[in-house]
């Protein structure tokens, strides 16, 4: 039951008095501190200023161009729907043909009928859209990127976007008409450096794109983005399907493009 009005007023008054008393006490301490020493001959030391201040908390930046990826924790079968009984689409391995940890682009999530969490992923392929569903446990922790590489086969240019804005552009060499660079949506899987082969230049990025024309290549016929020892051929339709660029450009791209970056080839 609520107290009668006079009692409530008394209660509020008591709170106000308490706050007032607190202020008075604080004032008394201030006086003691600033005034002469007390009878005991001591005064409160001035409290230390903090060694650092924590800045104003900032909300998470709205990043509309963000995409996510995750390392493959263990080999698993990707399925057409988020259920263990759905048709298998592909085997997702833990390692890439280059021996690095396989990573996979994540497109979405869903709960299966049993309540288990599934993730929709983009699968390595040579065509525009091949996706599948993996049990969430097949993947490790997520990582987020806001970069995207656009490869324009008609204009023979590659452009890196960050947050939707171009930050890098270069001429490229793409596949010859007999072995075209596949068009579609892919992503960066790994980065190779300090290898022996001069034909790939100083840096080579491995992608999830697979050639549909060169099918008997060791390692599955994956498309790389790399430098060259034949810069005079660029720009042009000169490769077996890989994306070649001048060595200076691939070095710069090596500084700007993180693993997991989505690639649009059009």
């Amino acid at each position: 039951m609520l107290p009668q009005r006079p009692q409530r007023l008394r209660g509020l008054g008591a709170v106000a008095a308490l706050i007032g008393a607190g202020a008075a006490t604080a004032g008394a301490i201030t006086l003691m501190h600033e005034g002469p020493p007390s009878r005991a001959g001591t005064s409160l030391p001035r409290p230390a200023d903090p060694a650092f201040l924590v800045g104003h908390p900032a909300k998470l930046a709205d990043r509309p161009h963000t995409s996510w990826w995750a390392p493959v924790r263990h080999g698993a079968i990707a399925r057409r729907a988020p259920t263990p009984s759905a048709e298998p689409v592909a085997l997702v391995r833990r390692r890439t043909p280059e021996g690095t940890r396989n990573v996979i682009q994540v497109l979405g999530r869903a709960r299966g009928r049993s309540g288990a969490l599934w993730v929709q992923v983009r699968l390595p392929s040579g065509t525009r859209e091949v996706t599948g569903w993996l049990d969430r446990g097949a993947l490790s922790g997520y990582d987020f990127v806001n970069t995207r590489l656009i490869v324009d086969r008609r204009r023979l240019r590659a452009t890196l976007l960050r947050g939707g804005r171009p930050v890098f552009s270069t001429v490229v060499g793409v596949g010859q008409p007999s072995s075209p660079t596949p068009a579609g949506e892919f992503y960066v899987r790994n980065r190779l450096t300090r290898y022996r082969s001069p034909a790939y230049g100083p840096i080579a990025f491995g992608t999830s794109a697979q050639s549909t024309a060169v099918t008997d290549w060791p390692g599955g016929g994956f498309v790389g983005i790399h430098g060259t020892d034949r810069p005079e051929l660029l720009p042009g339709r000169v490769s077996h399907g890989c994306i070649r660029m001048p060595n200076r450009a691939i070095r710069r791209l090596g500084e700007l493009m993180p693993i997991g970056t989505p690639i649009t080839i059009r």
Partner: protein
């Protein structure tokens, strides 16, 4: 584990997956000794104090990395609703501010952010809730253990300002979880060993994946 995890909040996330790099984890959290013995000169003692304080700040930074990454991932994945969404948004912004401040203070001496695998707990509201309760209680207990060890009064003044914010976070998430925000009249600290064991049991800290190689490319050229 049960003694450390009063609400059992982390117990369900501790399923061993065999992928955590233990040595990296131990390096990451609480690996350095707090005690520097045998230094008699005042100058050396001051340096030792600075080293000890730096060590404590890096320990705090490691816990702030854990919390900031946890809330940021939950917010990015848009997996929370209602009050939990708001709690993650606000607390995440605080934890990121703590990380930034500690990094700024430590400069080049700041430990690097490790890689986390939250194993789906940021994608499920009930698992998020239980883990958040455990993390906030853990942070409060860890700060409480370290604060009396800080030599610099200025650093202590800053640390207790963070500590009280962590306590507010703990009360907030405990309230949302239906637990008593302040269950005891006198809080107990948690030692580094206890904190290390609890964090290790989650296997949330993982090795960075090897995505670089110097093998000859097999690409089609």
């Amino acid at each position: 584990m049960e003694a450390l995890d009063r609400d059992g909040a982390l117990a369900e996330t501790a399923e061993p997956l065999g992928l955590c790099d233990r040595s990296e984890l131990l390096r990451w959290i609480g690996g350095a000794s707090l005690l520097v013995g045998g230094l008699a000169l005042p100058r050396a003692a001051r340096a030792a104090s600075r080293k000890e304080d730096r060590d404590i700040l890096n320990y705090a930074l490691s816990l702030e990395y854990l919390q900031a990454s946890f809330y940021t991932e939950a917010e990015r994945l848009k997996s929370l609703r209602g009050s939990f969404k708001e709690q993650a948004r606000v607390v995440g912004s605080h934890e990121r501010a703590h990380v930034k401040a500690l990094q700024g203070l430590l400069g080049a001496a700041a430990i690097k952010k490790p890689r986390f695998d939250f194993q789906g707990v940021t994608e499920d509201q009930s698992q998020f809730r239980d883990t958040a309760v455990a993390f906030e209680d853990l942070a409060v207990a860890a700060y409480k253990e370290e604060a009396p060890r800080i030599r610099s009064p200025e650093l202590l003044a800053a640390a207790i300002r963070i500590h009280s914010v962590e306590a507010r976070h703990a009360a907030w998430i405990r309230h949302l979880a239906g637990a008593l925000p302040a269950p005891d009249a006198f809080d107990e600290p948690k030692s580094r060993r206890q904190v290390r064991e609890l964090v290790a049991s989650t296997e949330f800290v993982v090795a960075k994946p090897t995505t670089r190689s110097s093998d000859d490319p097999n690409f089609i050229g």
